[in-house]
Symmetry: D2
Subunit: 319 residues, 4 copies
């Protein structure tokens, strides 16, 4: 099934060309010139990785407006043997496009992916008050549908680069409500050895809480806090067996090869009935974690040396 | 706009008749015999309440499989002047229905709401391996579409009571993966005085964290923990202004008229730049909160009496 | 028994004149010109207050070298109906004195209170290497004993002002090891209404931990931390009934009429089987507590107003 | 200076024979038949260990009535290269003794160590109302002084076994207020390799808090709590440089070779500017620590194995 030429690598992404996912993939230096495989949905993308059809898949994991992509979070929580190896941010802005020659005042039916529609609705209510919304399966497909007469579409909400792919005219730009909106993507491969820390890394986990204790979430958070590890994401997802049981999706600052993160993970692992390690990888925003002296690698090593001396009775017991 | 007969009350819900939302509304004793208004989506339902078209709206807020209904959480976080006044649980099971006389082995195209399809996919893969999925806007609409020849549908995934509303034949029952799945609904009205505690209540809040402190979530959780208030839900939602800023959707055990809950809310209010109180209402599962002596109302009153005596110097200062 | 002239007030202190306790009493403006009563020990001083012989007693409560005066802490924990109404710091320095004409090189026997001797021992070992120590009951008594030939004393360790009271010659000054040593005194009266906050206050408590929980001390400290109340002292004392049971002596920043302190005390009172409130009084060091916005009185009042509106449904529920 | 016969061991203790300290030493099986060296005070006992005059010293560290023996705590905090290797409990009860033929009704002057006098004062007030107290340097010396006519003593408070050592008559037994009082002793040697865990051990530490953080004590306690390590003692002692700076004397359940204790010590060491490890040794009360599964040694090892697999990518990342 995997007919790639030797040496080449294949990347799956939500196609067609022109999607925000493709824009994320364009940020991956090592993907340049390799085989890019557009797929129809997340399940297909991850399946490509699991079955070896592709080496990696780029998937959307969070949007600054809509929050976590829960189906992606749940897939990572339950499909074994996957690893996040990179993180990418794509600004999310939208344009309104139509067939060449069309005018904004004639727009009645607007095709759009529901998420995109939600972010642009205020603008449309103001500028095309009588419009109707027709759902599309992706932001690019909405534009493609302009050329399917059976759909009866007058305009489409699409990503800015859409005119590179389709013969459309841009009626308006920047029509989304929040100009700073962005989507966070992760590149997912099968399990591989963890890479080296860059000094600006993230570590992703899925953690189930023990059943039997009040305050279990507080105890979980303490595992990070006592080691000086900040969290950039804490999201709850149902385990699915019954109402009220959650697992937590966690992004922690730092790399599993940073001592403080490793120590926090050991604490979490001892505490939780089920931990999935999703990977340590460079942060998209390249913001280095701020670490107090008490939590840097040297302090961890010094403490171990001290403890060894204390036990052996060879070192002075004073600190 | 509100043309209700004097004295009657109107309830908006996601229609048409036969939906799980209608099943939730049937659990509301005071709604019996009143005016029930089916609407097309959540926005319409809440708008009915805001504008006074309806007195209350029943909306889905969480599913044991899919998690929080994020669009509902976000609406409650941002639309002012709404209150949750009741909570209801509806078991979520599905049947596969078709036009009378149809046979399972002939099913090729299955209409289903995407959430329902996700929960029944394993069964369909096993029992109708070659099927294709066509999206429907509600579980009931999927069944209705069976009678629209243009859709080309052979079968639909629908709620168990569907045969009361449509002339369909049930091909299979209990086709969802998890037989214990249920959806949690809340009844929402405009702001009204909070009702009396029943001993088995929940209090819902939306809380924004202060920007400027590491460990802010830990501090938030401590506000509840130090007063012995358990949380049944903690979900994060993006504030929406930029990646990495979250507000938290919280369901706490107990009623705002319980001393320990009131005290915790005071602590949260002092701590957070923005708290939305969504209501205190009887729990659907009728499980009474377990309270330690140190957190019951009498202990709170005794402590206040003691403090007053201490300040006035009239009481003995010993405890 | 109390034969004071009408209108005058009586203060008990560890005498005789010249002690550090007298130096503390000299710092009390309202004690100037009143009746000062020297007593032999702490028990007598507190008994004077309990029985009404005196209006207040000045007692040493902590030394920066030796730590808490445990007998005073235990007395305050167990004698009912006492209040701390003021705090005073006295620098602790010592001189070596002898009968007029004596020379340091002839000193063989040195009288000293054991605590004073401990603080001056290093100097004596260096400057009077062959000396012997004879215990005295107070720093002033040591000097007085110089004139009792039966004691056979050559020199005495005494407070700097000793030459005002006895005909002694100062052989050396500043002989204590730590030049910054000081002793903390408190003025104790019977229970009276608490005074007004000055902005730089302390509140003293004795708190027993509940028996039945691990982490009880952590929970106790959280009661202060969640209200932003810092502690300046936390000392453990045995309850006395069996090994391993402790009560805690706590000094908290702030005044019981500060909202955050009152709220913390309510939390402590609900939590602890036995709390003794010892008083809120101006700090000797006049250091104002640093309070975050979230913990000032206005924030507490605003939160209560908000909660009232929330319950009545009259106010907007948003924060 | 050390003239012991080859192979024999020497133990220093607060003498003379008959003291409670000697009773503690009698509980040490390996001390039977060795050289016991009575000394006059704590400083001498520890000095014997430091200089090699003795192999170990038995010292009182805490009394269930009076609390920690602060001079011993401070000595262990500041004298380098000492280790606690054992813990012993001695019930503290007192008898009133006199010269043969004496009668209780004739007792006027009672010699007693001040601590003993405090514990027996209530009985004396009731049974010898007109008595006066004369201080003695040890409980045994009080009895010895009966035979020094210059002292003018009628009776002495002494340990129950005193009649084995002196020709005295017991006027009354069990005269202390609290019949369950006991004193905790520790056996101190120079630094040696830590012994093996027995399952019922204690670990003693002296910990200084970092200067620069509010809540530092809370953070210190969390280091133990997150690893499930209970504390049996937490006492504060002044560092001595200025008022308000404390170090903490800590006894933790468990042994430094228990994984959870070692991990807690690593956390404490990273956090604190100064930690003194005083030893891990069998508890006198033989009470085994109660450990949750999450904190047993196997869980610690499993977590490390998991983390190694996670980093190498060889193991399944699921927990």
């Amino acid at each position: 099934m995997n007919e790639r030429p030797a040496g080449s690598r294949r990347y799956s992404y939500l196609g067609p060309a022109g999607t925000f996912t493709e824009a994320a993939l364009k940020q991956v230096p090592e993907a340049v010139g390799e085989d890019w495989r557009p797929v129809a949905n997340l399940g297909e993308a991850l399946n490509d990785v699991v079955t070896g059809v592709s080496d990696a898949a780029m998937i959307a994991i969070e949007n600054s407006i809509d929050g976590g992509v829960t189906v992606a979070q749940d897939a990572l929580a339950t499909i074994p043997d996957l690893r996040i190896v990179g993180e990418y941010l794509v600004p999310v802005s939208f344009v309104l496009v139509a067939r060449p020659g069309a005018r904004l005042e004639d727009v009645e039916v607007v095709a759009a992916h529901p998420v995109a529609y939600g972010q642009c609705r205020a603008w449309l209510d103001g500028n095309a008050p009588g419009h109707r919304h027709l759902q599309a399966t992706s932001n690019v497909q909405a534009a493609a549908d302009l050329f399917d007469p059976e759909k009866g579409i007058d305009a489409a909400i699409a990503p800015p680069g859409i005119a590179d792919h389709y013969d459309v005219e841009v009626l308006a730009e920047g029509i989304a409500e929040n100009p700073d909106a962005e989507t966070r993507f992760v590149l997912v491969s099968r399990t591989v050895p963890v890479g080296e820390p860059t000094g600006a890394d993230k570590t992703s986990l899925i953690v189930e809480l023990p059943d039997d204790r009040a305050g279990a979430l507080l105890d979980l958070l303490e595992q990070f806090a006592t080691r000086g590890v900040n969290l950039t994401l804490l999201a709850s997802r149902p385990v699915g067996d019954r109402m009220g049981r959650y697992r937590f999706v966690i992004d922690a600052e730092g790399h599993v090869k940073d001592e403080r993160v490793a120590d926090a993970l050991l604490g979490v692992k001892r505490f939780s009935p089920n931990v999935v390690f999703l990977g340590s990888y460079p942060r998209a925003d390249r913001i280095a974690a701020s670490i107090r002296d008490a939590h840097d690698d040297g302090t961890f090593r010094d403490a171990r040396d001290w403890l060894r001396g204390v036990i052996e009775g060879t070192a002075d017991s004073e600190g």
